[in-house]
């Protein structure tokens, strides 16, 4: 038979004819050479003599960067945000299906947020194949190098997000070149994710100081946010917008485009889609407004709601007052026929109330003063709508 680019070699079975022990002596010589050479260490790959043992655990081999053993999640050191957006690609890619993800939701609106609520990997079944790390579009799950995982507690190998989180600084110590290749894209995507995460969702759970700092930031933003004007498209406040605010802003812009005049009572503008949760909240707000209006119409100023000491209650009170004013003033043609416009109106009234409160000489800090401010706001709104 003929083959290309090579020969067929028939192995030569024996070189010498006389078998009187020469082969045995050669074998002895080979082993002797190894014995003599074993008194020093084998240094590099080109040597075949020398002791090859690395005395673990006193000496350890340096692991290559690409080494993979068990995945971990990484988070950004500065902001504390996890890179994971719970996109579920790793769980889809995992062959033994050991990744279990729950996506986080915004507690206010109930919408999904690009962050994970819980992230479970069963380390005892994970085969360290690395397909999850390859599949992740956000470079959030990476392969760790830690292999001394032996334990007698099987359930302890069920790793939750708190066990899996590692800072980027840790990952750059084990695989700097691999991180350098993907650093830019990952950080850009992280910024995008951060923008879409409300509150403190997405910050690694154990960074309590970062969480506290973030909360303080958000409070400061809310307190310092400039109130939007009652009509015209509200200027976008610096900082995050909640979904409701966004919807309100969009509706306002559309209403302004459609040439609407008075904000409170025009025909319902084609407002953007609100999620069912938002619609419910809007309906609730409308109902509350109606009740409050009823109450305000009957009651005197003494029935003004108890003074709130934080901004939310103040807002609500203002909304109620504004709605009461609206209802009181309105045999107005359009009671809002859909909940969105009602919400919008409520928001506008609240802003108006805020503005009115801002015009007030001092922030009311006690009950009576708050009541007074509420009444004043109601009157102002009434006057405006007349």
């Amino acid at each position: 038979m003929d083959i290309q680019r090579g020969n067929i070699i028939v192995m030569d079975r024996r070189r010498g004819k006389l078998r009187a022990g020469q082969g045995l002596l050669q074998g002895l010589k080979v082993v002797w050479d190894h014995w003599i050479g074993s008194f020093r260490k084998n240094e590099n790959f080109s040597q075949i003599h020398g002791t090859f043992t690395i005395e673990y655990p006193d000496e350890r081999m340096k692991l290559p960067q690409a080494y993979r053993n068990m995945p971990v999640l990484i988070y950004d050191d500065e902001t504390g945000h996890e890179l994971c957006t719970a996109c579920y690609q790793c769980a889809r890619a995992c062959p033994p299906e050991v990744i279990h993800i729950t996506q986080a939701k915004d507690p206010n609106t109930g919408k999904m947020v690009p962050a994970s609520l819980e992230f479970i990997i069963e380390y005892d079944a994970c085969m360290s194949c690395g397909l999850c790390a390859e599949a992740c579009p956000f470079d959030a799950i990476k392969m760790d190098h830690f292999f001394e995982l032996a334990t007698d507690d099987r359930m302890g190998l069920l790793q939750r997000k708190a066990d899996l989180n590692r800072p980027i600084s840790y990952y750059t110590t084990i695989a700097p070149d691999l991180w350098d290749e993907v650093k830019e894209g990952a950080m850009k995507k992280l910024q995008g994710s951060i923008k879409r995460r409300p509150g403190v969702i997405g910050i690694a759970g154990h960074l309590s100081d970062k969480i506290a700092a973030r909360r303080r930031e958000l409070e400061a933003e809310a307190a310092a946010a400039p109130p939007a004007p009652a009509d015209a498209a509200p200027a976008a406040p610096a900082g995050k917008l909640s979904p409701e605010e966004k919807a309100a802003k969009l509706a306002a812009m559309r209403a302004a485009k459609a040439g609407g005049a008075a904000p409170a009572a025009e025909a319902p503008a084609p407002a953007p889609e609100l999620s069912p949760a938002d619609a419910k909240a809007a309906k609730l707000a409308a109902i509350k407004a109606a009740n409050a209006a009823k109450k305000a119409a009957e009651a005197s100023a003494a029935e003004a709601p108890a003074a709130p000491v934080d901004e939310k209650a103040a807002k609500l009170a203002a909304i109620r007052a504004a709605n009461a004013a609206k209802a009181a003033a309105a045999e107005a043609p359009a009671a809002p026929v859909d909940e969105k416009a009602a919400k919008l109106a409520a928001i506008r009234a609240a802003n108006a109330a805020k503005a009115a409160a801002a015009e007030a000489p001092a922030a009311p800090v006690d009950e009576k003063a708050a009541k007074l401010a509420a009444i004043r706001a109601a009157n102002a709104a009434k006057k405006k709508s007349e």
């Binding site: 090579g6 192995m11 082969g23 050669q26 074998g27 080979v30 590099n44 040597q47 960067q65 397909l131």
Partner: protein, 369 residues
Amino acid sequence: MLKTEELQINIGPQHPSTHGVFRMIVTVDGETITDLKPVFGYLHRNHEQIAEVNTYLQNMPYTDRLDYFNSMANNHAYALAVEKLVGIEVPERAEYLRVLMVELTRILNHAGALGFLINDMGAWQTQLAFGMREREKILDLFESASGARLMCNYFRFGGVARDLPPDFMPRLKDLLIAMPAFVDEMERLLRENEILLQRSENIGILPKEVAISYSVTGPMLRASGVPYDIRKAEPYSIYDRFDFDVPIGAVGDVYDRILVRIEEMRQSKRIIEQIIQQLPDAQGGHINPKARQNVRPPAGDVYARVETPKGELGFYLVSDGSLKPYRYKVRAPSFINLTPLGDMCRGYKVADVVVILGSIDIVMGEVDR
């Protein structure tokens, strides 16, 4: 006339020398074997059924675990099968990397297999320790390239997962200095050794026609005198660009298999040297950027085979157009090579069974899947 009784002995499944959980029911007459029945299935892990529940990419790590000694070769066969089915092209550089990894696997398999065989013959792990040392070097190279030593999961559809790290080539070149020294030393230790000759010459003869009729492949077939190597007979990947020889044996006994494996290590080294020469000029990247890993192959079937160090590994995939294979069958070389064990052992002594089994070079992960 004296009549002796026949005795049935059970070798295995727990036995230090059966290369895994493997059982042999041996019928002996005195010290001579009259019949041998292999019993396997102790390591059955339902690989083919699991493959039907996984997507094509998810199957890649599972193929590592078939022949756990040579994970790169298994990956290669599976990647070839899926690429044939879908029609993905592989860039040149990726092909070179693939062949490099497979040839390194061949060296490490033969070093280990010969070590285990000599250990079974009683040489108390000396050759095994030397073989393991060379294996360790190659496994370190695999670790730096793919991330894991044994379960490499390195091949993807359209190329390989990752390109070589910068410290790979210098270490590979160092290794190629050690490799001829290691093989020559092994030959000096083994070739003329009278005790080894007594234990392996004319033991376990498998004649040519019998080998062909049993569908034996790999070094066993070549030791029996049939010059059949898939890399030459039906070149896949870029094997048609390399010069290498095909060693065959004359008699087909255990000694011939040892000699053939030693020579194959030399030929693999030759191929690796040619790869190192030609790699810098290779076009393309380490993977085809247009290849989707979540493949959805058109309905149809394909059979792809490679020459692994143990023989011909073939994958028969049937696709019904969905993301998961409809039927996934593995033609495992160790399984087929094990079938003539009874014929090969008949007439020899009991102490030869372990030696003959070691010379077939099986790995139970493949046999039982």
